[in-house]
């Protein structure tokens, strides 16, 4: 990276003119802290940091930074929670990371059951304020300390998504700075004084300008303010906890919440039971807990994790449905749902966990589905984890997914480390009308293992595109690579990108690689 050349100095000076010295940095030490995380790509590229970090204070600041980027042709990406550098780390010269730490506005609209948030507000902060007025927002299992805005825009798999819906469906309104600096508002925000209570219209619904499942990595605009739905919360203002970290436990009020952990003999029986539960529209959250996830969220240390592995403790609970019934309206609702669920368990051949396992898991781990706490423990097993084979489709398509994934994982173990029986987590959305599955593979965070894992990812992308599977790797791979397998959707997207980002400065190479498209067009023109 050409730190300190004339163009660099000019950009720095102009950024300082916009934000002031305190909020612009280009020092080697400062930018170093934006160079790596646990994911394979960014570990390999850890010495390649951005050239500038800027801290805008409001939407106007963001607009002015973006206008500068267009004037001086420097690339930028955005950061809020700070994870997922593979999708926002520096990829070109003069790269500028827009860090949102100063944009932390949060307003709860109790009447309209929504929250207006800025990018650096965390889920935990939204939830703390929402719970004061009996409301609640979904929490991604990666951790409630992550940005609520980014998570809703990008991919958030909320622990309560079974009831509250996939995260992007919880977006009511957005304020976006387009890649050329223009401001765009969506939903009712587009009508002056209308507020942000309504997501659709007027006119075309522009919420999906950010791509449906995993967002556009900020390559089609920067969301500077978002309105998200809030849902009824039947619990207390604060979560009642006991113990000292990391042995913290939480007890939810038993008159409004009740967990069931149910084992099934086969994956098919488990999926069938999930459908039945979804049809009955009971419960606040439901997922398939895989033994690996149970082990890493439960273990207080890496030593305990491997001890559990050797003891085969969580391996003895395969095909587990974890469902939490919430008495949203009353205690009677909870009682009613208990009866319905117990009937379904009986009819579908489910078997409840023994009390010993239940008492271990519920207060320590399961209750964190209301406020995710131990998610980041996934990165402890080997230091790094590939969120491989993550799919989003109908619930029954999970049955096709399991064997394919396990065969593939067997082939790539090592470099992957052994799981705890299996590591296929299934999260249901919208009362099982939609589901996601994730087979996470831990591996040792070393260059050699990382290269092996990246080789696996490349093969995986090939398989996915061949089978037209909407998995995570496909969703995060530039669409010009995957588009041909999916009705060439990259062609219209490229036109949109070109129209709103004519200088290709908004997180270039991510989401859609316009340089690669230009090269392909040139080659095609030559061959024609």
């Amino acid at each position: 990276m050409p730190l300190g050349d004339e163009k660099h100095k000019l950009i720095y000076k102009e950024l300082v003119n916009v934000l002031g010295f305190d909020y612009v940095a280009d020092g080697a030490a400062i930018v170093r802290a934006y160079s790596r995380d646990m994911f394979a790509v960014s570990v390999l590229r850890r010495k390649r940091g951005p050239e500038f970090i800027v801290l805008p204070g409001n939407t106007e600041d963001v607009q002015r930074i973006v206008q500068l980027a267009n004037r001086y042709k420097f690339p930028f990406s955005v950061m809020s929670g700070g994870w997922m550098l593979p999708l926002m780390g520096a990829a070109k010269q003069y790269w500028c990371i827009i860090d949102f730490k100063r944009m932390n506005g949060l307003k709860i609209d109790e009447k309209n059951m929504c929250a207006v948030i800025e990018p650096s507000v965390t889920h935990a902060q939204v939830q703390a304020e929402a719970m004061k007025v009996g409301l609640y927002n979904g929490i991604p299992l990666v951790g409630a300390h992550m940005s609520a805005l980014a998570n809703h825009a990008w991919h958030g798999w909320h622990g309560t998504a079974y009831r509250s819906g996939f995260s992007t469906r919880n977006i009511l309104g957005m304020e976006l700075v387009l890649p050329d600096g223009e401001l765009l508002t969506t939903g009712s925000l587009a009508s002056p004084e209308a507020g942000s209570f309504w997501g659709e219209g007027p006119g075309p619904d522009l919420r999906n300008l950010r791509k449906g499942i995993v967002g556009d990595d900020g390559s089609l605009g920067i969301i500077t303010r978002m309105t998200i739905k809030l849902h009824p919360w039947p619990g207390p203002r604060f979560l009642p906890t006991e113990g000292v970290r990391p042995q913290k436990r939480c007890q939810l009020p038993t008159n409004r919440f009740k967990w069931y952990f149910i084992n099934y003999p086969t994956e098919k029986a488990l999926i069938d039971a999930m459908y039945e539960i979804g049809k009955a529209e009971i419960g606040g959250s439901m997922e398939r807990f895989d033994p690996q996830r149970m082990a890493y969220e439960y273990a207080k240390s890496r030593q305990e994790y491997w001890q559990l592995f050797n003891e085969r403790y969580w391996q003895s609970y395969p095909n587990t449905i974890g469902i939490c019934l919430w008495g949203f309206a009353s205690e009677r609702q909870l009682k009613y749902e208990e009866k319905v669920l117990e009937q379904i368990i009986e009819e579908t051949g489910g078997k409840l966990w023994p009390d010993e396992a239940y008492q271990k898991f519920v207060p320590y781990v399961a209750n964190s589905r209301t406020r995710s706490i131990w998610g980041p423990r996934w990165c402890r097993i080997g230091g790094s984890m590939q969120t491989g084979w993550l799919m989003m489709d109908t619930l029954d398509s999970v049955l096709d997914y399991f064997p394919t994934v396990w065969e593939h994982m067997n082939r790539y173990t090592p470099p992957y480390l052994e799981g705890q029986g299996d590591s296929a987590w299934v999260l249901t959305f919208d009362f099982c009308h939609f589901a996601g599955a994730d087979n996470a593979g831990p591996f040792e965070k070393q260059d050699e293992q990382i290269k092996g894992v990246l080789g696996e990812a490349m093969e995986q992308i090939g398989i996915d595109t061949k089978n037209s599977m909407a998995t995570f790797e496909v969703a995060t791979t530039p669409v010009n690579v995957t588009g041909p397998a999916f009705a060439n959707f990259h062609i219209p997207l490229a036109k949109i990108k070109k129209a709103i980002d004519p200088n290709n400065v908004s997180n270039p190479t991510r989401f859609i690689d316009m340089d690669a498209i230009a090269r392909a067009e040139q080659e095609k023109a030559k061959s024609d």
Binding site: G27, I30, R32, L55, A124, R302, W306, R371
Partner: protein, 425 residues
């Protein structure tokens, strides 16, 4: 399923990945950038306003000023990918940290490793490398000459106890020594607190003595600044002096000193019983030797000093992966709750989640504006409880918090726990 397929199991090849042990580079390398270190445990966020745990991250904003960023810098320094000449701000980044351990306590919940220890070792390394923070140099020079961290004269050290009828352990033997600490000895406003502590012990029948003008710095704050050689020198001096005086129990009212003596001295072979004054009073109270007879109608909140709290579980050699971040959390609370008329209301961030007063790690000396910001945050948090006083158990915390209240012309009273006790007796 990725397991047991008729071939050798794929288990970690690096033993660090299955059993934790101290290895500075491995800790820095394994930072996952999950950012858990920047926030209070999400279960415990009770108010959006008080959700952060790292003062440095909140004040300086850029990620370099967080535990995560400092792990990146530590790794780069260890690997030789970054030098002090590359960025004049590097040394400031290393020192603009209160070493409160909040980040470390949060990290240990998900990663079971010791990032705070890395930060302290990096400070020591920077000194070894000849990179000295100019603001701290006069403090350390004075320590070497005058045996204190307060820029005071050695001859003035015992003034706080003048007229106090207490055994001089430089002249006679005694089993219990009260170590006042540098802050108290040279901060005249705090003298009544220290005198109250000694009087309280004496009145409860404790055969307590002091080292008077011959008391020296515990070395704890020098250790936090990276001056490990100075720490060892003072620790050895104190151990020798106490041994010569026949001391079996060391008591102090200073949380920093308590941590140094209880945790760091142990590594030099200390075998004394070490008690913070709140532990001793709690013990005497439960033995019926201290009784609260007067009503003190006051709504108070309690500030956990970092070194009396979570830092105890984070000390080198004391960290047990998976074990709770235990500190002296309950004795001060038990004392406060035992005082008639006093109502204890808790702040959002307490015990292992406590927000720092801002004075630790040399920040009070090198970066007073950052110290003041951190303390002011705490005062605002205390005000949000509706309390009229914030109680603490450390003179460094009391100084930082008192100055913050004064600066904002606030009404919050800052009281040492012993001052509160005196009102009840």
């Amino acid at each position: 399923m990725a397991t047991e397929k008729g071939k050798a199991l794929s288990l970690p090849t690096d033993d660090w990945n299955s059993k934790y042990y101290w290895d500075m580079r491995k800790v820095a390398w394994n930072c996952a950038r999950c950012s858990t270190c920047k926030w209070v445990d999400v279960w415990e966020v009770k108010d959006a306003r008080f959700a952060k745990i790292c003062p440095s991250s909140l004040y300086y904003l850029f990620d370099a000023y967080s535990n995560q960023g400092r792990m990146d810098l530590a790794l780069a320094l260890i690997d030789g990918d970054l030098t002090y000449d590359d960025d004049p701000e590097l040394l400031d980044i290393i020192y603009k940290c209160n070493t409160c351990g909040g980040c470390d306590a949060m990290c240990k919940g998900v990663q079971d490793m010791e990032p705070l220890r890395v930060m302290l070792e990096i400070r020591a390394k920077s000194i070894e490398d000849g990179q000295l923070l100019p603001q701290l140099m006069p403090i350390i020079d004075n320590l070497r000459k005058e045996d204190n961290m307060m820029m005071g004269k050695k001859a003035d050290r015992g003034k706080w106890a003048e007229g106090l009828e207490v055994k001089d352990l430089t002249m006679e033997q005694g089993e219990v020594v009260f170590h006042a600490g540098c802050r108290v000895c040279y901060d005249e406003e705090l003298w009544p607190v220290a005198r109250g502590m000694v009087t309280l012990l004496k009145n409860a029948g404790v055969d307590v003595g002091i080292m008077g003008k011959d008391e020296t710095c515990c070395g704890g704050r020098a250790f936090q600044m990276g001056y490990q050689g100075e720490f060892t020198k003072y620790a050895e001096n104190n151990l020798e002096a106490w041994k010569n005086a026949g001391v079996k129990t060391v008591v102090t009212g200073c949380a920093d000193g308590y941590y140094a003596i209880k945790r760091l001295y142990t590594q030099l072979g200390a075998e004394f019983e070490v008690l913070h004054i709140v532990e001793y009073i709690d013990r005497l109270m439960k033995e019926g030797k201290i009784k609260f007879t007067r009503n003190v109608p006051m709504r108070v909140t309690y500030h956990d000093p970092c070194h009396l709290g979570r830092r105890l579980a984070q000390a080198p050699g004391f960290y047990v992966p998976g074990a709770p971040m235990m500190g002296v959390y309950e004795p001060p609370r038990d004392i406060i709750k035992s005082i008639p008329g006093v109502e204890l209301v808790e702040m959002c961030r307490i015990k292992e989640y406590s927000w720092c007063c801002g004075g630790g790690g040399g920040v009070i000396d090198a970066y007073p504006e950052f110290n003041n910001f951190t303390a002011t945050e705490r005062i605002k948090e205390a005000e949000a409880t509706g309390a009229e006083a914030i109680i603490t158990a450390c003179p460094w915390c009391q100084r930082s918090l008192t100055d913050a209240v004064t600066d904002v012309e606030g009404k919050m009273k800052v009281i040492d726990i012993v001052e509160l006790i005196q009102q009840a007796m």
